[in-house]
């Protein structure tokens, strides 16, 4: 089970963990704690509580506000064995604790290849060079004088789910699907900057480069660069977080997260791709026949149930149960999400709620009356191009098990009679 390591963890969290550990309690016993009639009234109501009598803290105690102390377990977590060193590593968004479609800035998963670069915006420069009429240098101040746009986009690492190719491995959607986040970006359309420099007619490719210790680089076709890419400096209304590329990052909507170069310092226009390390050694998809696909940029149609899930078991017993999850597609919007309770024999269409924006997360719900029997939960997304999320076995049949990247297979959660949830695969 996932450890709730924070010493200040809440009572609720502690009891949930004990519950998970024991895993023996019957559904009925659990239900009891949820409010069965008592002889005397609930002391939380009949007795006057401290917070009802004594004054709380005034304004300005926390000039930058933080979540409630009772939410201390809602944090990014990593899987230490995955990488050699935390400086070139990854952690995961706690999807099971979130709702809606927007990820709070402090919970957006991190992946860097040379640690978080700390850059004073006054010291940051963006250069455009290569096949352009005039190579240019912009300061952050310059960039903030171009017309801006606000766009909601998901960013998914191409390796999201990469640990699950050979079978279900990690117990929690934070770990199986947490290399994704979705925020509203404010930035300048990349097109404006390229037009300012004047792209030559043979300029067909763009190299984006970061200023960090890995000097991250990716080749992007000019068509995409001129279409919907943004050079962003804000996320969810505030400055980018350092770990998300402060002061400047590239947004490449719908395409793999590695291309969204952080600490963006240079854009070079060229007539051919550069075959950089992150598009040869990495981010190429090895197939069973020994061939490897390259330039697999688009993130496929995908979904996952975020609750119930292994880190968010059913603790309330039988009765009304909210099944909820996320769906997304790098091709556009999500048209429909289906949910099955029996491992894929019968499906029902879930309710999409909240904004439906292209290349953004979509939130779905299925409200059921749980009878306490075992469930094999899955969700299946269909995007506006009509592409249907495949099963893991369909993907394996087409690609083998060594692709690492682009695993968008249907996820199964097993819910037992006690509400304990496990990551499984089914026939």
């Amino acid at each position: 089970m996932v450890d709730i390591t924070d010493p200040k963890r809440t009572k609720q969290a502690a009891s949930r963990r004990d519950f998970l550990k024991a895993g023996l309690l019957g559904g009925a016993a659990v239900a009891a704690s949820a409010g069965v009639a008592r002889a005397a009234g609930d002391p939380l109501i009949t007795e006057i509580q401290d917070w009802n009598r004594y004054l709380g803290e005034g304004v300005d105690v926390a000039p930058y506000g933080k979540p409630s102390e009772f939410e201390a377990n809602v944090v990014r977590r990593n899987v230490p064995w995955l990488t050699a060193d935390p400086v070139s590593s990854i952690n995961f968004t706690p999807l099971h604790e979130l709702d809606g479609i927007i990820t709070p800035n402090g919970l957006c998963f991190e992946r860097h290849h040379g640690g978080t670069a700390i850059i004073n915006p006054a010291d940051h420069r963006l250069m455009i060079n290569g096949l352009v009429d005039t190579p240019l240098v912009f300061t952050m101040e310059d960039l903030k004088r171009f017309p801006r746009e606000n766009r909601v986009y998901f960013l998914e690492c191409a390796a999201n789910g990469g640990m699950e190719w050979r079978g279900s491995q990690l117990n929690g959607c934070q770990f199986t699907h947490g290399m994704i986040h979705c925020v509203v970006y404010t930035g300048v359309p990349l097109r404006y900057l390229l037009e300012e420099a004047g792209v030559k007619t043979n300029g067909k490719w763009l190299l984006a480069e970061g200023a960090d210790a890995s000097a991250m680089t990716r080749s992007i076709p000019m068509e995409k660069a001129l279409d919907d890419c943004l050079v962003a400096f804000k996320m969810n209304g505030e400055a980018l977080r350092p770990e998300q590329g402060y002061p400047l990052r590239l947004c490449v909507p719908g395409w793999e997260g590695n291309m969204w170069v952080k600490w963006l310092r240079r854009l070079e226009v060229g007539d051919e791709p550069w075959a950089q390390r992150e598009e040869t050694s990495k981010y190429t998809d090895l197939l069973a026949n020994g061939k490897a696909r390259r330039h697999t940029w688009v993130m496929d149609v995908k979904s996952v149930i975020t609750s119930p899930s292994p880190q968010a078991p059913v603790t309330h017993g039988k009765g009304p149960l909210v099944i909820t999850g996320l769906a997304w597609s790098g091709n556009g919007t999500i048209k429909r999400v289906d949910v099955t309770l029996d491992g894929g024999r019968t499906w029902q269409t879930a309710r999409l709620d909240g904004p439906s924006l292209p290349k953004a997360l979509h939130r779905f719900y299925l409200d059921i009356n749980w009878d306490g029997s075992e469930l094999l939960l899955q969700s299946r997304a269909i995007d506006d191009q009509g592409l249907v999320q495949p099963t893991k076995n369909e993907l394996r049949a087409a690609r083998g098990e060594n692709s690492i990247y682009h695993n968008n297979g249907i996820q199964t959660w097993h819910v037992n009679n006690d509400g304990v949830v496990e990551n499984v695969e089914v026939s």
Binding site: N78, W81, L82, T83, A84, V87, S88, H113, G114, N120, A122, M127, N129, T134, L136, V137, T139, G162, M163, W165, S168, Q169, L170, N171, Y192, E195, E196, L207, A213, R265, W274, A275, R277, S281, L286, A288, G290, K291, A292, R293, H295, V298, D300, P310, G343, R345, W347, I382, G386, P390, T391, A398, R399, E401, I404, E422, N423, V424, V426, S427
Partner: protein
């Protein structure tokens, strides 16, 4: 701006050396060179931060395993709790054979073989330790760049203004023309056809000692990878195996990527510290480790670079995901009686259970790369 803190740091060095000429028998200047072996993992000096290893300011007099904000191995923390304090003697022992002195230390470094190197590197480190006689003055000087960060920005703004600023000709007239030396400083990318290669050359034989000194701590003497650090050689003919080993020799399509990546990002934690000739020599050595050349005198240069081809180049194909059967157009997903009988569980995460649980972080499954 960049130059400013650097020269200030030099001033600190000079000052310290001056104030305490006979501090150590080692030579701090020579020690600065030795420290290159440590720099991949450790920072020292003004504003030094933790990298793979802890920052080493004030390491003299430091209780082992006590730098704030750094996560030590249990072995190192315990050594500190047991009373180990770093001084010339304890440091000499540790640096000679880290793992002999502290079993279980996670410093993946074999040790310094020469006593001179140890004495020199310690003399160098000592210039960054408060214990030094000149410490108070040095520390104050050392702080200057930080305290005057704003002044630094002002200094930097001046030359920018002085430069014959050529405005952009674009629709917005924002930004300024990039200077040739600026483009040269940042535009170091190399393409498979050799575009972008700098002048230079290096042989396999020249590459070996550079690799042993700068790369082997992490990647192993033969590119086999120390611990979980990346493997750089071997794995030929494994791409169709259950566990393929993807290396430069077995997987990478182009040699240009090796040159480009090593020059921009390696050694990890000390990027852009190698000369172009070093990078040619290292690239040649990596070819040798991958059996692409077998002659130690083989010389790689700008001239013959584009003629080299890696064995796996032909095996990269365009993205054809759209041709997979499950993405065929017009599929109407099944809604009922989609499977013959009750569904069975075929695999469970609990059997493998590698979900992190605080300690105990063994790798038993696939990776994210």
């Amino acid at each position: 701006m960049l130059k400013f803190p650097k020269s200030a740091a030099l001033a600190v060095l000079a000052l310290t050396a001056f104030a305490s000429p006979s501090l150590a028998d080692g030579d701090a200047d020579a020690g600065q060179k030795v420290f290159k072996k440590c720099a991949a993992c450790h920072a020292v000096g003004d504003g030094a931060k933790h990298k793979v290893g802890p920052e080493l300011n004030d390491v003299f007099g430091r209780t082992a395993g006590s730098a704030e904000g750094y996560k030590y191995s249990n072995a190192m923390s315990e050594a500190g709790q047991g009373g180990l304090v770093w001084d010339a003697e304890t440091l000499s022992t540790y640096l000679a054979k880290p793992k002999d002195m502290i079993k279980g230390t996670k410093m993946a470094f074999a040790g310094l073989k020469k006593d001179d190197d140890i004495a020199n590197v310690l003399a160098y480190l000592k210039t960054f330790s408060q214990e030094t006689a000149a410490a108070p003055a040095a520390v104050e000087t050392g702080k200057t760049p930080v305290e005057t960060a704003d002044a630094g920005a002002a200094v930097e703004a001046a030359p920018a203004a002085e430069m014959a600023v050529e405005k952009s000709q674009g629709a917005f007239g924002l930004g300024r023309k990039a200077m040739p030396d600026e483009i040269a400083a940042w535009d170091i990318d190399v393409r498979p056809d050799g575009t972008g290669l700098p002048e230079g050359r290096g042989t396999v034989a020249e590459g070996e000692p550079i690799f042993v000194e700068n790369c082997a701590v992490c990647h192993g003497d033969f590119g086999e990878g120390a611990g979980r650090w990346p493997v750089l050689a071997g794995g030929q003919d494994t791409l169709r195996n259950d566990r393929p080993e993807k290396t430069i020799g077995s997987y990478w399509p182009y040699l240009s990527t090796v040159f480009d990546y090593v020059r921009r990002a390696m050694p990890f934690g000390n990027a852009r510290s190698l000369s172009d000739d070093d990078v040619y020599a290292l690239t040649a050595y990596l070819m040798y480790l991958n059996d692409i050349v077998d002659d130690e005198e083989f010389e790689l240069s700008k001239d013959n670079f584009a003629s080299v081809h890696l064995p796996n180049e032909a095996n990269f194909i365009p993205d054809d995901r759209a041709s997979e059967p499950h993405y065929a157009k017009g599929i109407e997903p099944c809604m009922s009686e989609c499977k013959p009988g009750p569904v069975k569980i075929t695999a469970r995460a609990q059997v493998i259970d590698v979900t992190p649980e605080g300690e105990g972080d063994e790798n038993s499954g696939g990776g994210i790369d």
